[in-house]
Every structure is written in C-alpha cells, then in structure tokens.
C-alpha cells in the first residue's frame, strides 16, 4: 500500500521531475545574459503580481464568502452561487475583453474624448495593459478559489465555537477576525495557494499586457533563444520558490489542528443586515460579480452575436463535445487519484510520501506549455524505446503508442490539475477528526472500507467540488492541449486561443463564450452541494 502510493505519486510527478532535471543541463552564458539584463524585471514583476493577486483574492474571496454564508441581505441567495461564475472565465479571455473596452482606442476612452474634446495626453486614464491591470484581471478570475474554499469552511464551522465567541462578548467583527478566519485558515490558504500558483503560471495575460514576468521570460528564452534547457531552469526556479512558500506556510502551522472538536452542529443564524449595511453588502457582491463576470461575458455575447452566422457551424458542436469529454475524463481520474494520495498520506504520514505527494501537486505552478514538454519527453522516450526493442526483437515497428494521443493529453491534465483536487480533498479530510478513523478501525474496517464507508460519505461535498473544479480548469486549459493533442482534434479553448492570438477577437468570442457556458453548470452544482452539505449535517444532528 505504502509503495503503491509512493509509486503513483512519483509517476504523476514525472513531468515535474523532468523539468527539474533540466537544472543540470549546461546552458552556456544565457544565465549571465539574463542576470545582466532582464532577470531583475522578471523577479520583481512576478513578486508584485503575486502580492497583488494575494491581496486582491483574499479581500474579495474572504469577504464575499463571509457575507454570503454568515449574513442575510437582499440577493444573497443568488450571489451565493453567482460569485463562482468568474471561475469559468479563462484569464486571457477576460484580458482581451477588458482591453477591447478600456484601452486608448476602445469605446470607453473614445467616448470620453468625444464628450470632452480631449486628445491624446490631455487626460489621465488608468492603463489596463500594465502590471496593475494584470493583477486586476487575475484577481477577478482567481478570487473564486478563495471564495469557494473559505465559504465551505465558514459553513462547516460549528455554531458552538462561534457561540462561545459571542458569549465572550465578541461582536460579529471580532468573531470574524478572532475565530472564524483563524479556524478557516487551512481552507483560505488552500484557495490562496491555488490562486497564486495559477497567477504565477499565467502566460496569456501578462504576455498580452506586455508585463515581463518569470513566465514570459521562460517563453522568450525558450522560443527566442532556442534554449529549452534555460527555459526549464527558469521554470524549475519558479517551482522551487512556490515549494518554499508552501513549506513556510505549513511550518508556521506546525502542531495546530483544525478539525472539529464537537459533532454538535446547529443551524447558524445569519446576521440580519438592514439599511445601509445591507446595501453595502449587496453592492460589494454585485460589483465583484459585475466586473468578474457580467461585463466580460456581455462583451463576449455581443461579439458572438456579430459573428454567429458564419463561425458557429456543425464543426463547432464537435469542439464542444471534445472539450466536455476530455474535461469529464480528467476530472474523474484526478478525483480518484487525489483521494488515493490524500488518504494514503493520512494513513502513512511518512516523509517520503509527504514529499512525493507535494511534488505531484506542484504541476499547477508551472506554465502549461512547460508541463507539456515534461510529458512529451518521457512519453516519447517510452514509445521510442519500445519501438526500438520491437524492431530488434521482432522486426516490427510499434511507432508512437502514447505520444500524440489523448492519453498523453489526459496525463498532462492530471499532472497540472492534481493540485486542485488534492488541495480540496485534503482540506476536507483535515476537518474529519482522527477519532473517526479510530472508531472505524475499532469496528474492524480495513483502510479501504474505512475510506468508502466513513470518509467518502462525509467528504461528499469536497469530492464533488474537487471534481467540478478540475472539470472547469480542463475546459479552460490551453497550452498542453495545443501541443500534445492528436491530429485533427480541437477543443473550444484551442479555437478561442487561435483566433484571439491572431487578433480576431470577435471570431474568438463564440468559443470563449461556450467555455464559459459549459463551466456555469458545474459551478452552480458546486455551490448547491456546499450549501446542502450543511443542511445534511443539520439533519443528521436532528436524527441523532
């Protein structure tokens, strides 16, 4: 059992290991050149980007989660699920739509110039294509990770703890800061680290905005200087940095435990907001939703209408089917693997297993195209080795068995998105007190029985969330699909990106909108499940 967990984790970490292995490939004087010219910009911009996205996603995510789970105000029922919608929006797509609207030549500034008779240089307008713009774009599409996980944590917090806080004379604010947030820390951090890993790996947005970051540096070095080794070394540096951050965070928690101490659970009474505070709560949620989803989706819709008659054809349907099929397969596999790894680590919390599981979850911080190379190299090596062996032994060429198939594409998804399902499942498992395991064991359950009869039913909400998050992520995924896919196979993301990269934004819109639409349904299901999980918990209490 221990060995199989270790093997599986290492297998999934294979592309990450391949990327790390490039550290030992000599790359001449490229590093000297980078260090003396652009490396400082890459590092500084990436750090600012990370800091900005961290602040932005925490502010939006945690406050929206607290409001929708602990307070009652008009529209709360809708915001509860609608605030997840930006999750379905690929970051580069939102960047394209905002640029179309806000840049110098766009309708907003043109209208202002017409109204006031301004020319270029007569007025100040925030530049969307800048580092701050990139922070804003990424915050708008990534805050839902923080929102999702912290909301689930707030909802599952036992009323007892919060009641204790109230009886000690703490008002809502103090309860929030002193009890709810610290208790939800693992969940908030899990959401935040997903958001930050994705922000660091983002290429489309920063490249389009002309912000030189580590990721754009990776691709410049790879493409422009033809040095895939130096590019992989940059990627490895990025990964080690993220690894260090996660380590520091986990170390700072050390012995603290966050599972519930009491099985007593009571329906939370939401704070009833009225008057100004209700209005402000509504306004905050509405603005987040408006800028993160309604506005860009509206722009996509209007572009789609303008080109629908010649862009949406029979082929379009096959794109939709391909995207859904891949997303469904990858999401199911990622769930099973994440459950296996997370549970394995719970059973055998040894150092090698912990390290292997962490390593397998690192793919999320690496740009998709680099992960794709990490998949391509070992797969092609296996294929070519089998082929050589078959040629020698039987005089038969087996050709490429795995490379250029959907198997390779799916494997790349698993490597890249395992972090998402792993974080979600782990944060769910962490809330189940070990005494449940002990109780199950004492009833004579074997580990697998324990998992299927005790943990899985209790984890249903987390598992569904993990499933659907990966589903939505795969729908949006581009670089690995693009480079690993078989002949004559396209997805919505490929179509949207190809046209957008050729600067045909309107023609790219239908595919982008379809990604968003296909992502909405899972997003709504996630939200309903989380809400229901609390109701079920409450019902169990009644029965008991």
């Amino acid at each position: 059992m221990e060995i199989s967990i270790l093997t599986l984790a290492m297998l999934l970490a294979l592309p990450v290991i391949v990327v790390l292995a490039f550290v030992f490939v000599p790359t001449g004087d490229i590093w000297h050149h980078l260090a003396s010219t652009v490396l400082k910009d890459y590092v500084v911009n990436s750090l600012w980007l990370m800091l900005g996205v961290a602040i932005g996603t925490l502010l939006l995510g945690v406050s929206a989660a607290w409001l929708t789970s602990m307070c009652q105000f008009p529209g709360r029922g809708v915001f509860e699920w609608a605030l997840l919608l930006p999750l379905a929006m690929p970051a580069y797509i939102i960047a394209y739509t905002y640029t179309g609207m806000l840049d110098f030549a766009g309708p907003v500034q043109s209208t202002l110039r017409d109204w006031f008779g301004w020319g270029f240089g007569d007025y100040w307008f925030p530049e969307i294509r800048s580092l701050n713009g990139a922070v804003l774009m990424l915050t708008l599409v990534l805050y839902p990770y923080v929102y999702l996980l912290s909301r689930a944590a707030f909802l599952s917090q036992s009323i007892c703890v919060l009641d204790v806080s109230r009886t000690l004379g703490n008002g809502p604010w103090r309860t929030f800061w002193l009890v709810a947030v610290p208790l939800a820390r693992p969940a908030i951090i899990a959401g935040l680290s997903l958001a930050l890993m994705e922000a660091l790996a983002d290429y489309g947005t920063v490249q389009f905005f002309g912000v030189p970051t580590f990721t754009t540096g990776i691709f410049r070095t790879w493409f422009g200087m033809g040095s895939s080794a130096a590019a992989a070394q940059l990627a490895a540096g990025l990964m080690i940095f993220v690894f260090a951050l996660i380590f520091i965070e986990r170390y700072s928690r050390r012995q603290a435990r966050y599972h519930h101490t009491s099985r007593r659970h009571q329906d939370l009474r939401r704070y009833q907001l009225t008057g100004l505070s209700a209005f402000l709560a509504f306004l905050l949620c509405f603005l987040i939703l408006f800028f993160g989803f309604l506005l860009p989706a509206g722009q996509l819709l209007s572009w789609t209408i303008s080109v629908a008659d010649y862009v949406i054809d029979a082929q379009f349907l096959s794109l939709v089917m391909n995207s859904l099929k891949l997303a469904a397969i990858a999401a199911c596999l990622a769930l099973v693997l994440a459950l296996f790894l997370a549970y394995g680590y719970r059973l055998f919390p040894s150092r090698p297993i912990r390290f292997a599981v962490r390593l397998a979850g690192m793919g999320y911080a690496i740009p998709g195209a680099v992960i794709a190379v990490g998949v391509m190299i070992p797969f092609a090596w296996i294929d070519n080795t089998v082929d050589s062996w078959a040629r020698q032994s039987f005089d038969v060429s087996t050709g490429l068995i795995l490379s250029g198939t959907l198997v390779a594409v799916t494997f790349a998804y698993l490597t890249r998105f395992l972090a998402v399902s792993l974080q979600t499942v782990e944060s769910g498992l962490g809330k189940i007190t070990p005494s449940m395991d002990e109780a199950g064991r004492s009833l004579g359950f074997k580990p697998v029985q324990l998992l299927s009869r005790v943990h899985v039913p209790m984890l249903r909400g987390s598992l569904l969330t993990a499933l659907l998050l990966v589903f939505v992520d795969v729908l949006k995924e581009l670089p690995a699909t693009l480079i690993l896919r078989p002949f004559n196979f396209n997805t919505l993301a490929v179509r949207a990106f190809e046209l957008a990269s050729d600067e045909r934004l309107a023609e790219a819109a239908p595919a982008a909108l379809a990604i968003v639409l296909a992502g909405i349904i899972p997003v709504i299901i996630i939200s309903k499940t989380i809400t229901r999980s609390r109701q079920i918990a409450a019902e169990h209490r009644d029965i008991a």
Partner: protein, 340 residues
C-alpha cells in the same frame, strides 16, 4: 505463441491509441499557421487529389520540441511555420530533410528557398512602416534606420520584442548594419516609443489611429484584416492608416516567409511533396492574398484590391536562413537595448 500474442497486443493497443499509420493517401502536417489560416486550402488540396491531410496546429517552438522528442517515429511529414527562422532552426537540429522538386524550383524565387533544399517559403509577410495619413507626410519617411532619429520621439508604436517578427526585423538589420550599429539603433528606437510595447500588431495600428502615436511597425496582413473586419471600429481605425515601404533606395523592406519543410522521418514523402507543390501553385498563392492579406512568393499572381492599393515594393533579398542564424543574438541585443 506468447510472442505473437504480445505483438498482437502491442500492435492492437497502438492502433487503438494512434489510428494514424502511414498510408499512401494521407499526409500529416504540423502547422504553426492557425487552423483558420490553413484548413480551407488543405481541403481544396484533398478535393483535388484525394489525399487526406491530417492537421495539428500549435506554436512553432512547441511543434519543434514535439518533432524532436518523437524522433524517427514522428507521424509528421511536413512542418509548416510562419517564419523562416524556425524552419532554419528545424534544419539545424536535423529535423528536416532536403528534397528536390522542379515545380518548387520553378515557382519559388531562390532567396525564399533554403539554399540546400531543406525548406521553401510559401507566402510572404512584409513588415513596413505604417503612418497616420493626416499627421505624417510620407516624404519625411525613408528607412527603418531613420526611425531612430530624435524627431520621432514619442511617436512610434510597435509590439514587444518577444514577438518573432520584431526579432526577425532586428536579425535582418544586424545582417545589414552589423551588431553594434543595430544595438545603437535599437536603443534610440526604444527612446522614441510612444508607450512601452504591449498588445499585438492590430493594437499598435489602433493606438495610432486613436492618436497615441504616428508611426507603427507592423505586418501588412493585420492592416488588411482590419480593413475587411466585420467590426466597423476596426475598419475605421485601419482606414486612416497608410503603408510606407522603407529602404527602397537601398536593401528594401524587411520581409519574412511562412513556409514548409519535409521532416526527416517523413513516411508519406510523395504526398507531402505534392502538398507543398500545391501550396506553391496559382490557386494557393492567390488564396494567401485573398484569405489573409499575405503576399504570394511569386510575382505572377493577382494580389487583389487591398494589397494592390499599397503598391509594389522592393523586398530585402536577404537569404532567409540568416534570420534564423541571427535570431538568438537579435533577442539578446533587444534585451540589452531595453526593448521589452
């Protein structure tokens, strides 16, 4: 017995995973041209010859990496890129093979073909200076070199140095003027930028139309695409812009080619060469101009109204493989010059 079962099993599995096996009536293509800009003409080829074309599109560098790791078992017969530099790089690392074709030798001018016959250029992409008609007198324009003059301070828009077309332009300048002079030029050019580079070529054109800059360095097919766009805002922006062909008194305007090479491991050699020949034929050459506003590599082809209105020009006859040779140095030079 066991052996047979094993072979059957492995071959069976491989056919399940990879239904594409060498087949006389097929050709497999790795293309850096996006699907919308290649599929229609491939369909015409299939209709005419009965040869099926299987297509994977992607970034040129990623496709190169894929070819490299797949090695001798790669299914790809042809590599199609949107610049000569990458074809040259593919040749250098041994991913292409030389091939001879009378049709191609007849159709394609010598400087748009690899001297050793590893690849051919199929369409031409010119990167001239564009100017806002109302604000710039074209008689004040002359060459790329002149864009470094301080009188253009704050007037020039172009995209990031991450873009291969700017890298190729600098690579060509290095061939013409040497590295030191080009670096000086790049520094002065960066000083004249109206804003830090961002966005694509269309964005530069739109910024000029809106008043942020007067001059743009961009590929002509983006302007052509804007002129025929459905969106009236794109058309309006493009309509105030004109094309100026720089360096007509000396080496000519910088051009690059989108082209094709035969992979070293090609299994459908004849079909692949037939396809490349087809892409150099009258119909395909005309289609490049019609569908995407690119210039044919042949001068006996009708180029349509939009391209004709910008007139004839002298293109830099530089050997395209030099663009590939100089590329990495060009990028380093741009890093040093602060061209983001």
């Amino acid at each position: 017995m066991l052996k047979t079962a094993l072979i059957a099993g492995v071959v069976g599995l491989s056919s399940l995973l990879n239904p594409l096996m060498a087949n006389a009536n097929e050709v497999n293509l790795y293309s850096a041209r996006i699907e919308a800009l290649i599929k229609p003409i491939l369909d015409e080829f299939t209709a005419e010859t009965g040869i099926r074309v299987n297509l994977v599109t992607g970034g040129a560098d990623e496709l190169l990496q894929r070819l490299q790791s797949e090695g001798r078992n790669t299914p790809a017969d042809i590599l199609l890129t949107t610049d000569a530099g990458r074809l040259h790089r593919a040749k250098e690392v041994g991913l292409l093979q030389a091939f001879a074709s009378e049709t191609l030798e007849r159709n394609i001018p010598e400087n748009y073909r690899d001297p050793e016959g590893y690849w051919v250029g199929l369409s031409m992409r010119a990167r001239p200076i564009m100017y806002v008609r109302d604000r710039v007198d074209p008689s004040t324009l002359s060459s790329y070199e002149d864009l470094a003059d301080p009188r253009w301070k704050g007037k020039i828009c172009t995209r990031s140095s991450s873009n291969v077309y700017n890298q190729s332009l600098v690579a060509a300048m290095m061939a013409a003027n040497g590295e030191a002079a080009t670096e000086q030029w790049a520094r002065a050019l960066v000083n004249n930028f109206a804003r830090p580079p961002r966005g694509g070529d269309r964005d530069q054109i739109k910024a000029a139309a809106a008043g942020q800059c007067d001059l743009v360095i961009a590929n002509t097919y983006y302007l052509a695409g804007m002129l025929t766009d459905n969106d009236p805002a794109e058309r309006q922006a493009a309509e105030v812009i004109d094309v100026f062909w720089p360096n007509q008194q000396d080496r000519g305007t910088h051009v690059n080619v989108s082209g094709a090479g035969l992979t070293a491991a090609a299994r459908n050699r004849d079909a692949a060469i037939a396809l490349i020949e087809f892409l150099s034929g009258d119909r395909a050459q005309q289609w490049y101009a019609e569908a995407n506003g690119e210039y044919p590599v042949r001068d006996d082809i009708e180029i349509g109204e939009i391209l004709s209105q910008w007139g004839d020009f002298k293109a830099d006859p530089l050997d395209m493989s030099i663009l590939g040779d100089n590329n990495a140095q060009a990028l380093r030079l741009m890093d040093r010059a602060g061209w983001r």
